[in-house]
């Protein structure tokens, strides 16, 4: 039997169909959580951020324009929530907070030099890199998600790649 489309599930969920809502959740939870993790770099924060994102998305499902894809809309909520949480942390603490994610332990066997370089990107750049290469969103979708001009997204992506290249080159020299 064919899987119901996102649009079908959204329609049913808007009418209060919990099964449809749960199906929608299961379809997107993993991606939403991984996006949250990639932005925040911490499991506990990713749990909170992704859960908050879904909670907000479901509460606002009636406002969602069914003609648009659900995934990017959800990712927008999750990404913005992650940014809010990280920015709030920076405001809260008197100490130097871990602005960069602690991703290395979970990537012991991965591309560690690249990972370290990604972790060194500023929050704003890291988010667009994660959404582009981790979640697979287009620059236009990212622009919609973060409420930025497409040009700004492209520019941040380009600068991020440039920074990453430089960082990796330095590493090779060393």
């Amino acid at each position: 039997m064919r899987e119901p489309s996102d649009r079908d599930l959204v329609r049913r969920a808007r009418r209060g169909d919990r099964e449809a809502a749960a199906a929608l959740f299961r379809r997107y939870w993993r991606d939403a959580w991984r996006a949250a993790f990639a932005i925040t770099g911490r499991r506990s924060l990713a749990d909170d951020v992704a859960a908050d994102g879904f909670e907000r998305a479901f509460a606002a499902l009636g406002r969602f324009d069914e003609r648009r894809p659900f995934g990017p809309w959800l990712h927008r909520i999750v990404a913005n929530r992650a940014l809010d949480v990280l920015r709030a942390e920076r405001r809260v603490s008197d100490e130097e907070l871990p602005d960069t994610p602690d991703l290395a332990p979970v990537h012991a066997s991965g591309d560690r030099s690249l990972l370290a370089s990604v972790a060194e990107l500023s929050l704003e750049r890291r988010v667009v890199v994660v959404l582009r290469y981790g979640v697979g969103m287009t620059p236009k979708q990212i622009a919609e998600a973060l409420d930025l001009p497409v040009g700004t997204v492209n520019s941040r992506l380009a600068r991020s790649l440039e920074q990453l290249r430089e960082s990796l080159e330095v590493e090779h020299v060393e």
């Binding site: 808007r14 959740f25 499991r43 506990s44 924060l45 990713a46 879904f54 509460a59 406002r63 979970v106």
Partner: protein, 357 residues
């Protein structure tokens, strides 16, 4: 065209870790609670309804010592404030006030009438007899008289996400967001002697035992834990994680522990599970009440502390909070009109409509 670096990035981010199953279950539970059926209405009206839903009107109803007299108007978002219209309420006796956090704004009602309105807070809890309200304001825990006069303020260095004032008023348990985790702390009712109880917990409101000597909370692993202040000891409640809510009975030491698929009632060494996904639960006039969601109604079920059924009733509505004296229902049609209805039990007699927005 994809560069080598971009391919490496895609490969890198493709091996991000997987979420824990427990976190997913808990998140699903929370998300389903936030789901509200849209009223079959015009687009503008529907938008208004979901604006209302998004603000999660009742999520912040302070579940402490609630019930009330007075009048309460709660305003949303950018809506222009409406003048306060005091009304006389016919509410259960033996109650002193209501504290409601709506869309991040606190309203307090006491027997003397409407008090605070629209104060931005992150969480709130009334003291016994509604003499004070403790609220998270900015990065502080603040105790105020219901008229807003500050009794004391304690810096928390983070947002307070949950507060529970002990029944005797002598202590306050609260959870504050620290970088990367949530910390459980207890402070005396006079704002002194703040201490850390647990360095990592879940964002579940603690619940005090009736004697104010112990309280329950949910640890980082999702287990329900009772912390005994007298003995400085903690005991884990033998209920499978993740626990999503805890509620001590207002008398005795019975406790209800919510899981994703039901509620355990622990009473005098016996444990009884009440199955079902619920929107809300709590102790209501000495009975355990849970609220099972339906399409356009809720089923309020009542149980004795032993877990024995004590009847149920249906009520039109879409979301509920259970307080010691009231069940709060957000009604579908009234939702469109921007109203929330407070109900007493038994049998769902309407007590009060709150005008919202």
């Amino acid at each position: 065209m994809s560069s080598e670096l971009e391919r490496r990035l895609e490969g890198l981010l493709a091996v991000l870790p997987e979420p824990d199953a427990g976190a997913g279950e808990e998140a699903l539970h929370r998300a389903l609670r936030a789901l509200h059926p849209a009223a079959p209405a015009r687009r503008g009206l529907r938008a208004a309804v979901l604006m209302f839903a998004a603000t999660a009107v009742l999520l912040g109803i302070a579940a402490g010592s609630l019930a009330a007299a007075g009048a309460l108007h709660v305003h949303f978002g950018a809506a222009k404030p409406k003048p306060i219209v005091a009304r006389t309420l016919q509410l259960p006796s033996g109650t002193a006030g209501i504290a409601a956090v709506v869309n991040g704004r606190l309203s307090v009602v006491t027997k003397g009438g409407f008090r605070l309105q629209g104060l931005p807070v992150s969480a709130a809890s009334l003291s016994p007899h509604a003499l004070f309200v403790a609220a998270g304001i900015g990065h502080s825990l603040v105790a105020m008289a219901p008229d807003g006069h500050r009794a004391w303020s304690h810096p928390t260095r983070g947002t307070v996400v949950a507060i529970a004032w002990a029944p005797f008023g002598n202590r306050i348990a609260y959870i504050v967001r620290a970088p990367g985790r949530l910390v459980l702390r207890v402070i005396w009712g006079n704002g002194k002697n703040d201490e850390v109880i647990a360095r990592e917990v879940r964002a579940v409101r603690p619940s005090w035992r009736a004697d104010s000597l112990a309280f329950a909370y949910v640890g980082a692993g999702g287990k329900a834990i009772v912390y005994d202040l007298g003995h400085r000891s903690r005991s884990v409640i033998a209920v499978r994680a993740p626990v999503t809510g805890v509620a001590f009975a207002p008398t005795g030491d019975s406790i209800a522990v919510e899981q994703l698929d039901g509620i355990w009632v622990l009473h005098q060494s016996a444990a009884e599970k009440i199955p079902g996904h619920v929107d809300a639960f709590g102790w209501l006039n000495g009975r355990l009440a849970d609220v099972v969601p339906g399409q356009n109604f809720v089923l309020v079920r009542l149980f004795a502390p032993s877990g024995a059924s004590r009847g149920s009733y249906r009520q039109q509505g879409v979301a509920v909070t259970v307080t010691p004296k009231l069940v709060v229902v957000r009604k579908g049609r009234n939702l469109v009109a921007g109203r929330t209805t407070l109900l007493t039990v038994p049998r769902g007699a309407t007590v009060r409509s709150l005008e919202i927005g």
